[in-house]
Symmetry: C2
Subunit: 343 residues, 2 copies
């Protein structure tokens, strides 16, 4: 039985608490991970009753408040002192759990964890990292996708090293290929930020392969792609939108003729396998790197599978002690925090 | 017979001059547009001989030099004084043609046109605009996609107004919905650049609908999406890469079983229609807005269809006198050039 207990914010997603509870039960049953469900006790309990949870390690910790998707992140984090994510973060600070999974308002989750636990002493800025499907079997890590919209070159360097550690520790890539997201492969291409960052990355303790372009992300040749949080967030949401558009347009065309409809039925398994390969829920959420504790942020539209996988990823982060590796390597390679940097 | 003559850089694309010549012949035949093919005369002539061009208005103007895709844009623009794009730009400056179409090195095309013709007096920075397919019948205009990687807020305002004019003049949208590409719909979301630009855009003489996210681009609800050239270029290349990845992954899955293969054959027409909807070549290249003259930049991998459509778009820009509209509206609404701005 693993030792690391994971708190699940049961009130976060669009379909809370049902999907969180289903995902938690699956993770507890499949991986034997002990779980604390945090949120409005009554609602959690009545939802739990619908399932057979005998033999599973599932606790409930009550939190009276809920943060909604359209609330201001900063205000919600500051004022809702008994929100499910705030209580979960507090459990993590008190070492009663080792990690937190939330499909709630991403900004509020980040702000709350930052306020309650803070960043690792060696890190300037945390980064939200996501995993994207590629044409190859292995996924690509993209970061930052929204924790820091305005970045300095040395932030990108720190993101690169954290992404490299993530790729090694969690995906077992021996020497991840790390690229800088830019607008051309030549060293000289980019904006002011990336041109400066390029120089630092050349000397960083990573396998830096230079600039990469948007079209390279999905090819599967690059393990870690680094960018500022604005560009990364646009890229992530654009990808999600395009995948949806692709599916919609394909369905529209396939519905136009009988032959195509029959074709669709015959290809159905292939389509399902294909959509599964593109499905973010297989990859288990976005780790918030560089923060104290382990926080995995899930999409608001997460299903139980996504929650289950995020719990597994949170547990993997604990098991591989990713934060300790970040601290050790940042110190060893002198990628220390900027003196006087503001958070 | 239309009056506007269009110069086609015959040496630009990956498959030059064959696709340029085919595209030019199609445009001349279908739309009656008079065309000047610019490039190495011998090669153009021997390629033209393979086609029946009787009755078409096709001239050749010789240019001895060719700029390749991997050349430095700035150096090539400056040093290759007899390149096909330089000669084409000169024809435009001398009013011997009204527009130029090139599928060559985008950076070199932009630098050459800027050097030979310059920007419109009212415009600070030109913008490269592209057209993206959407779930609806109408496409979306995205700009800037690479002319200016580091932008100031007032550049984004100018891009927005130029994009608005483009949408009205060429696509006939009466009151285009203009959005600012950001990381959340709320007014306060964004980076330093977009937050400042948001304020200007609220007062700009356009139908500004606020921030839009990456996922909104393809929905077809927004006619013009504005961003800096770095973000736009990343977004454009990411979209291209994802569409390719999507097609590859779908094919991989469909090849796995006989049923799926049969399904694929039955759905083939639907797939073709679907790919056609996603095909950039239908939309005819990327206009370089705000520059003197009319320049349409095409993808290096353009086919004859893309060249043909770009010639049509160049002709439309001339017919609707888009540059005059830009000058008139910039002056009328006081969106004048910043004093002392550097190009």
């Amino acid at each position: 039985m693993p030792d690391f207990k994971i708190a699940v914010d049961a009130m976060g997603s669009d379909h809370a608490p049902a999907v969180e509870i289903e995902g938690a039960i699956e993770a507890a049953a499949l991986f034997g991970i002990p779980i604390v469900l945090v949120g409005q006790e009554e609602r959690i309990r009545s939802c739990l009753e619908k399932h057979d949870t005998s033999g599973l390690s599932l606790e409930i910790v009550h939190a009276s408040e809920v943060i909604t998707m359209d609330e201001s992140a900063a205000t919600a984090a500051r004022k809702k002192k008994d929100s499910s994510i705030r209580v979960a973060a507090r459990l993590m600070r008190e070492a009663r759990v080792s990690g937190v999974v939330s499909a709630g308002n991403t900004g509020a989750v980040m702000a709350t964890v930052k306020m309650v636990l803070g960043t690792l002493p060696v890190v300037d800025r945390p980064a939200l990292s996501t995993v994207l499907p590629t044409q190859k079997a292995k996924p690509a890590i993209l970061l930052d996708v929204g924790a820091n919209v305005d970045c300095k070159p040395h932030h990108l360097e720190q993101f690169a090293v954290m992404g490299d550690i993530y790729s090694r520790a969690i995906f077992g890539i021996r020497r991840p290929r790390v690229g800088l997201l830019s607008i051309g492969e030549e060293d000289s291409k980019g904006n002011e930020l990336t041109k400066e960052a390029f120089k630092s990355l050349k000397h960083a303790p990573i396998n830096f392969i230079g600039n990469v372009e948007g079209r390279d992300i999905f090819k599967g040749e690059i393990d870690v792609i680094v960018c500022d949080g604005f560009t990364g967030n646009v890229a992530l949401k654009l990808s999600e939108g395009l995948i949806e558009t692709f599916a919609t347009m394909l369905r529209q065309e396939l519905e136009k003729t009988i032959a195509a409809k029959v074709g669709y039925i015959l290809s159905e398994r292939a389509f399902r396998a294909f959509r599964r390969r593109l499905d973010y829920s297989e990859y288990g959420g976005a780790p918030l790197l560089g923060m104290k504790g382990i926080t995995i942020v899930c999409h608001g539209r997460s299903n139980a599978n996504a929650i289950k996988n995020a719990i597994r990823v949170a547990h993997d982060f604990c098991k591989h002690d990713v934060n300790r590796i970040i601290e050790t390597e940042f110190t060893k390679f002198g990628i220390t925090k900027t003196a006087g940097a503001t958070q």
